[in-house]
């Protein structure tokens, strides 16, 4: 039987014929190994296949055998047959049951082969698209002979529903070992391994493979593809959100993401409040205030505090101030006639103002040696800025600080 197949293979047909030939040969081989019952049919098939290869038809090849071939394999479902209409049509009638009517025999044979080998060659991650076929013929290297074999190897399966014109392409690989692997993997219980195709080629396409026993209509396949896209996205989000590695499950992940986004938004609110409070200090008249240094003033703003509600008062200023014993003195010396809360608030801003001004004085010198932004954007900033020279200097310094910190984002 096998040697007969090989003799078939070695025949000198044109590309298409050999392709069909090879497919039939492989199918026959597979059949032989799996189906003892079908021996008679196979023999008939072999006998009948020979004369028909000339004309690229195989109607009774298909019809007789299709039904049996359908049984054990992964059956991708009725909707998938539609794609195989795209395959080069042999043109013969095809009287088999159900949707096979739509599929020309050569395509059906292809599909058979594809289905069978899809069972086995999970590791190969192969499949074909019609448009690729010609390219792949040129690309794929074959140790064996004939261009037909190349196309055959390319047809190594895994077709997924080309649902609604969506191209779920699956690249083909692993050609030369296909034939050998075919035999070795046939015996493997591959139906379970058929589950998900690896997404090796990271295009926008998601590879979906139908599992055994799962519905294989186009809707569920599309649904499965969508779900896999979403799970990919969740993995990306897991990298973004810190501390999500231990959480498995979509619901927990989503909760984590929601918490993180909320905390980030609250941080922005808090920081803007802080800047609002601190910025008021910039407007103070610098000349009237004594140039005292308060080194231990600030530092303890709870940067990551989660504010349940943003009250009107910048309450965060109260905390470090309560620890400072200097406050009373400041209140008296600087801002004499104010209420307690206001005094504290203004004292805090005055403290910051003083520290600001004192630090600015010391920092004026290095600025002259600075490299300004070659684009001149910082010079634009200076033009727009407040007329106070100290403020201008401070903004330049901020710009410098921000510019020269390691940048982590990529956009």
């Amino acid at each position: 039987m096998l040697h007969r197949l090989e003799s078939l293979e070695s025949c000198n047909y044109n590309g298409m014929d050999v392709a069909v030939l090879e497919r039939q040969a492989a199918r026959l081989k597979w059949q032989q190994q799996n189906y003892v019952v079908q021996n008679n049919n196979l023999v008939e098939l072999c006998a009948s296949s020979m004369p028909q290869f000339q004309g690229l038809i195989g109607s009774n090849i298909g019809s007789g055998q299709m039904v049996q071939l359908k049984r054990p394999e992964v059956f991708l479902g009725s909707g998938d047959f539609q794609e195989f209409v795209n395959f080069p049509v042999a043109g013969a009638e095809f009287g088999d049951s159900e949707k096979l009517d739509l599929v020309p025999p050569e395509a059906a044979a292809d599909y058979c082969i594809s289905r069978t080998s899809s069972c086995q060659m999970t590791a190969l991650n192969t499949s074909v698209m019609k448009e690729e076929r010609e390219d792949m013929v040129l690309e794929k290297m074959e140790s064996t002979t004939g261009s037909g074999r190349e196309s055959f190897n390319k047809r190594k399966p895994e077709a997924v529903a080309d649902h609604k014109g969506k191209n779920k392409r699956i690249k083909g690989e692993g050609e030369s070992e296909v034939k050998t692997k075919c035999s070795t993997e046939i015996s493997r219980n591959s139906s379970k391994e058929n589950s998900k195709a690896s997404e090796v080629q990271k295009l926008d396409y998601i590879h979906v493979r139908a599992r055994r026993g799962q519905a294989t209509d186009s809707h569920s396949l599309a649904e499965r593809a969508r779900r896999e896209k979403i799970s990919m996205k969740m993995k990306c989000l897991q990298d973004l959100v810190p501390g999500c590695n231990k959480i498995t499950g979509k619901a927990g992940m989503l909760d984590e993401i929601i918490n993180y986004v909320q905390s980030l938004q609250r941080q922005v609110e808090f920081l803007s409040m802080k800047i609002a409070a601190l910025n008021s200090s910039v407007q103070f008249n610098v000349e009237n205030l004594p140039m005292k240094e308060f080194p231990a003033y600030v530092a303890n703003f709870p940067a990551a505090a989660k504010l349940p509600a943003m009250a009107g008062l910048p309450y965060f200023q109260l905390n470090p101030l309560q620890k400072e014993s200097v406050n009373c003195m400041l209140n008296e010396s600087i801002l004499p006639a104010q209420t307690a809360t206001e005094g504290i608030a203004s004292a805090s801003v005055s403290i910051s103002e003083q520290s600001l001004s004192s630090s600015s004085m010391t920092q004026l010198q290095p600025f002259s040696t600075w490299n300004m932004d070659p684009q001149g954007s910082s010079s634009n900033l200076t033009v727009i800025f407040h007329s106070s020279s100290i403020v201008r200097v401070e903004y330049i310094r901020i710009w410098h600080l921000i510019r020269y910190t390691p940048d982590t984002d990529t956009s």
């Binding site: 569920s220 803007s272 801003v349 630090s359 900033l381 401070e394 600080l401 940048d407």
Partner: protein, 173 residues
């Protein structure tokens, strides 16, 4: 003598764009407000403006490449700046309501198709709605796009927080 070259930041990165704009707006806000503003209400008002400025500059830095930035910009533009535009805000609200209703119809159709087939719709129902409220412009997106926008939004938020933290830390050494 070795000249120390500090690591150059990409001048067109998100961080630099946001920092430039935000600093500019900050300076404008500083220039506009009165000098004796230390009352809580005044500070609160300034806080609101600064927060809006931060959001706006972030959205402008993204430059409407993303749905959330477009939604945020639209929201900021149509937000009543003061009391004068109450009327316009009601008009805008009705327009918005119509738009969101229309979008919700689309969303409902998509969600119904998804909930029938898999457990996705059921699992993500509550959390997805919460996420939609958080991310600007997320009301009318399906789950995949919502997750996409969330990822970008998180990235931009972290940038924003870093820059603002540096500014705030600078002013309070």
């Amino acid at each position: 003598m070795n000249k120390y070259n500090p690591p150059r930041m990409n001048p067109s990165s998100l961080r630099s764009r946001f920092a430039t704009r935000f600093l500019r707006t900050l300076s404008k806000i500083n220039a506009q407000k009165p000098t004796s503003s230390s009352s809580p209400t005044e500070i609160f008002r300034r806080y609101r403006r600064i927060k809006a400025a931060a959001d706006k500059s972030m959205a402008y830095s993204v430059r409407s490449r993303r749905t959330w930035s477009r939604a945020m910009l639209w929201k900021l533009r149509t937000r009543p700046c003061g009391r004068r535009s109450v009327k316009t805000s009601t008009i805008i609200k009705s327009r918005e309501a119509r738009k969101t209703r229309h979008e919700k119809q689309n969303k409902n159709t998509t969600t119904t198709t998804t909930t029938t087939t898999g457990e996705d719709g059921v699992v993500f129902g509550v959390e997805a709605d919460e996420l939609r409220e958080l991310v600007p412009g997320g009301e009318a997106m399906d789950l995949y796009n919502l997750l996409d926008e969330t990822a970008h939004y998180i990235k931009c938020l972290t940038t924003q927080v870093q820059v603002m933290k540096k500014i705030a830390d600078f002013y309070s050494p």
